[in-house]
Symmetry: C2
Subunit: 344 residues, 2 copies
């Protein structure tokens, strides 16, 4: 079965798990869960059921493919995959508050609609429910020691995620962020969750420690490649495909890798630094900034970093090829390719 053939049933399981977890236990708490359900795209602003565009569900897919590739039963691991996706969505809910973002995927963000206090608390609820997902593995007959080992990695990842978010926020106030610091930031903010998604999949398949570690490396490298591709699309993406305004990361002065690379370039660095230290950008500033990044060769540099990260991911995948189940193993490689070549 190819990736495209596996996706529908995998996503069906994950969706069912998430909906079971995000069900209000009492009438009084209905409003609390409605905020989470709105954020997930299941309810409209009128709190009536809807089907708003969801995310790519990369994390649960990665987890279930890794589980299947490592010889496990992905149906049994579905609660963990749901926990990973809920954790991702919790982080988006709080990110929207912390970044004061008014919209996400073309809809008002939760804090705009329900107010910051209740949205922040709904994020905490979703954070807690993401952990609750893992205990559902026990109902599927998963052994206690495996569930505990998965949870331990999950909690450590949550800590790492907040460290990455801290770095990302602190970068906004600086113009001297190094490329090394950038890689440390994305390892926490994006890489940790993808690494642990892949790792937990293999772990729940009861794979040997060395295999589990290889899946972790695969996820971490895939996460790096994924984020770097995001950085490229944030500047050079086609706005009709991405759904965001063209060069949105330039307009918001985001310190993504292309910009950090440009800032270190001896030819364009000084001018770029002066522009980034100055007043907010308008659309009129974009061409000049793009021209500076072009001189620095920023796009080629980041594209080369995507190549390096994806080669690392492929090496990790090759390490486990001998013992892996062929179809999901091939689907993992397909997933990697799809992510680094994606246009949105």
């Amino acid at each position: 079965m190819s990736l495209a053939e596996l996706i529908p049933s995998y996503l069906h399981w994950v969706e069912a798990e998430m909906r079971a977890l995000l069900t209000a236990p009492t009438a009084a708490s209905q409003g609390h869960y409605a905020i989470m359900q709105y954020h997930m795209g299941w309810l409209g602003p009128d709190l009536k059921p809807t089907q708003a565009p969801a995310g790519k569900r990369v994390r649960p897919l990665l987890c279930l493919l890794a589980c299947a590739a490592a010889g496990g039963d992905p149906g049994q691991a579905a609660p963990a995959a749901a926990g990973l996706e809920l954790l991702h969505n919790f982080s988006l809910l709080h990110d929207d508050i912390e970044d004061a973002s008014p919209t996400r995927r073309g809809r008002a963000t939760a804090w705009i609609l329900f107010g910051m206090p209740k949205a922040c608390n709904a994020g905490d609820g979703m954070f807690s429910l993401a952990h609750m997902a893992f205990y559902r593995l026990l109902d599927r007959g998963m052994r206690e020691e495996l569930v505990l080992a998965a949870l331990k990695r999950f909690s450590a990842m949550c800590v790492h995620l907040t460290e990455g978010q801290y770095l990302d926020m602190s970068f906004e106030q600086r113009t001297d962020v190094s490329v090394d610091e950038y890689f440390e930031m994305i390892a926490g903010k994006t890489g940790a969750l993808l690494a642990v998604a892949s790792e937990i999949g293999a772990l729940l398949a009861n794979a040997p420690a060395a295999t589990v570690a290889a899946y972790h490396r695969f996820g971490a490298a895939l996460g790096r490649a994924f984020q770097l591709r995001d950085d490229i699309l944030g500047i050079w993406g086609n706005e009709e495909v991405t759904g965001k305004s063209a060069a949105s990361d330039i307009l918001s002065k985001k310190k993504s890798l292309p910009v950090l690379y440009g800032l270190t370039d001896s030819r364009v660095g000084p001018e770029l630094r002066a522009r980034y230290a100055g007043p907010s950008f308008t659309a009129a500033d974009v061409p000049a900034v793009l021209a500076l990044l072009d001189i620095a060769g920023a796009r080629d540099y980041v594209q080369e970093q995507v190549r390096i990260a994806s080669a690392e991911a492929r090496r990790a995948l090759a390490e486990v090829a001998a013992t892996a189940v062929a179809a999901p193993h091939a689907a993992l490689a397909e997933l990697l390719d799809a992510l680094i070549e994606r246009e949105q």
Copy 2:
């Protein structure tokens, strides 16, 4: 050993665990952990070490006393007690953001000092680290199945806590909150954490299920009594002892139980409702509101509820008396008395 004799060593263990957990793993994440350390009172606003007044540490004390009373080794359970205290502090950090509170225990709140975005994220970090605390039980030789059972109750409590916080926030916008709804709210916002602190203590002592359930009931009833005493102090407390302004809960129009009871009184309800629906209170409004609560007999009613809750807690404690270790069992009764008679 009495409660006063047990407290110093218990608190010493818990403090050491919390400090180990709240240590930055990298130089780059130092600023993230500094926010948490400031919130805990370990750092001053200048980020230099200090010893600001800490909380009462009721939750870890309750956990370790229950563990000892149920025949366990409280030293072995110290990481769980630290996790409970960190979770409590996480909830205070986010509550301060959600309530826009400028001060806590006489110091600027974390969000005032570090900004809302970083403080919110530091709360998420502390939430994650509270979970990490439990894996440290494994290093102390605690069995995996007990750690997993403790974590499962811990996560479920976190969900319940956010439901209670949601109810509390939604009450602010209503004048028709019933007494039943109030008890549902405090069961989540205050009771759940105290119930689980007591329960986890007994669980980690490997006590039988019926005993663990009795400790849960003890903590839940103690939590109710504790919150009701808080409601009394918030209106009739001595400001020189509480450190808060006199009648602070009246000035902030908090829907605590005395007020909800007054609102249901046929004699004073209509006038009280009109006042609470009107403009903000100043100190000049306080005497009239106090007089209305007096006519309704609100203080006596709440005091009677404290008595009912503490009698329930004592019954739960009596149930386990036959098998309990005498000194910590007596200390639990002492803790209950101290909490319901406290003046701050």
